[in-house]
Amino acid sequence: MARKISMKQAINEALDQEMARDPSVIVMGEDIVGGAGGDGERDAWGGVLGVTKGLYAKHGDRLLDTPLSESAYIGAAIGAACCGMRPVAELMFVDFMGVCFDQIYNQAAKFRYMFGGKAQTPVVIRAMCGGGFRAAAQHSQMLTPLFTHIPGLKVVCPSTPYDTKGLLIQSIRDNDPVIFLEHKNLYGFEGEVPESSYAIPFGEANVVRDGKTATIATYGLMVHRSLDAAAALAKEGVDVEVIDLRTLSPLDIDTVLESVEKTGRLVCVDEANPRCSIAADVSAQVSQQAFRALKGPIQMVTAPHTPVPFSPVLEDLYIPGAAQIAASVKRTMAH
């Protein structure tokens, strides 16, 4: 039966069910149990925002609190994956990826290719992403494009609890390295999620709203901002289709193309910085493959090309909002 749970609970449930199903699944990260070696209850924290809370009590030492050294434990997770485990490593904030990036883009992403298909690396690296948390320039970035650039990595960024559970289960069962990015401002977002386990295949975008006059292609938190924009535009008689890309590598460009063939107009919405972003990528592919279907120029709505500001006023302006998205839809409608 389905019931309403938050995205945070959906992550916890996916980890719990996969650990119960498959003894090779382990979870590691900083404070994911909550103060190993300290006094009192070992399960007190369950991670910086409590995502893994309660799992230690059920699965014991298959949850490993690691030292504060991303390069050490991400490397350990990748090595364990090559040796038959299915580690899920939690990196806290995607912004910290820099300190262990060699392990990811130059090692894990290349093993299958360089060993002629004889090695596989079924590792999942989970990290919080995105702004709006008043956490300043080093804890708020949307770094999805860094990972989609690398062949050999799969990149997931869900927008709902249902998708989060199904895509995380798929990520754990997948035999390649997966970067699983969770928008911290969606952790409390609730939705219907079945209690049973289920896996959502990679490379299938989700049409979250049907429309005929313009297409919005987006992912993560921006799905919700885009739906708000679409609801506002509907009152003015503008009928917008909203596509949640869900997985950014592999990317389901076919669903975007089919939609643009119908609507003739495209707005790409991305919380990442504009240069070489997901929005820029989708925009380039559509102009290359569906140019004749376009009735107006493709619009991009992204964060500006600056670091995320700490000032709450500026941060709110920095992250694309519904009004900005609606204005861009109107701009492409003007042609």
């Binding site: 039966m1 389905a2 249902y162 299938e204 049907d210």
Partner: protein
Amino acid sequence: MSTITPIVMPKWGLEMREGTVTAWLVDEGAEIAVGTPILEVETDKISNAVEAPDPGLLRRKVAKEGETLPVKALLGVLADSSVSDADIDAYIAGYVVPDAGEEEEEGASAYSTVDVDGLTVRYARRGPERGVPVLFLHGFGGDLDNWLFNLDALAEVAPVIALDLPGHGQSTPRLPGTALADLSDFAVRFLDQLDVERVHAVGHSMGGAIAARMALDHPTRVASLALINSAGLGSEINPGYTEGFVEAASRRDLKPVVEQLFADPDLVTRQLLDDLLKYKRIDGVSEALSALGSSLFAGGRQSETPGLELEGTGVPVLVVWGREDRIIPASHAGNAPPGATVEVFDDAGHMAMMEKAGDVNALLKRHVSG
């Protein structure tokens, strides 16, 4: 007779709160007979025609095409020519949409679950306390919501019970066995759990074959049989559907498969496909469907035909079919046992109970009351 009949937004299924008017099918001033499709309504699950509850002239279209309105909102007005325009204006002005508040509560408890042989079964039970209940058995890959146009209508005359068979809907994705007898025995044990002695069994497709098996194996439990686009009345079945449904993993693959179910493929909405994919992705469902499909429908042949053994059992049988059924040929209706009531509808496919809901409901009501 100078009465005004309102045409209101229907409530199709337990979760429907609102619907969108997609098209009017008749003009103002048109003479309407009972059951005439008047307009089309789309919900996030499905679209279908709203049929006339009474005869009369369509005097006024109140809802506009494209408008989204709550359940029971006034869509149009039927009345004969003796009713003045002023009376109709006054009726429309004075119409108040009944409050849905109490139905919200009802919706929360609309589904129940019961444990049968260690499997959790989701079911819905409604209608009067007394009388022989009508048991609805869905088909291969279906669930109890396949009956969304039928349950409320039948609940007007008898208690209704609809379940998700094991391996289906939101019941446990594990089968008690893959033969029809395994499923019909399971349905009987489900009725035992509910303390139900006898039922009018209504089955669609594979559910019809299960119902027929149940009537043969447990004759004291089945008061009558209604078989809708039923399996078990002949050997042909379209493997493109049964195998395609099991194999399809994406919306793109599933859509053409599911469109074969309906005479009008536009009835397949995005939400319907999404709901089917959500079901198919649950761990264990794929294996269950695959096992069931290979046992019952391997190679485009039905392995069991209990419907052909009903002659002489004395159980009253109603057979209903959509002529454009692309899954199980409508010619199988000709294999109904002697004495059965047989109705074959034009402009309907495999889902006759949805596509011809008004007509099928009328037949079922007569059948279970007779």
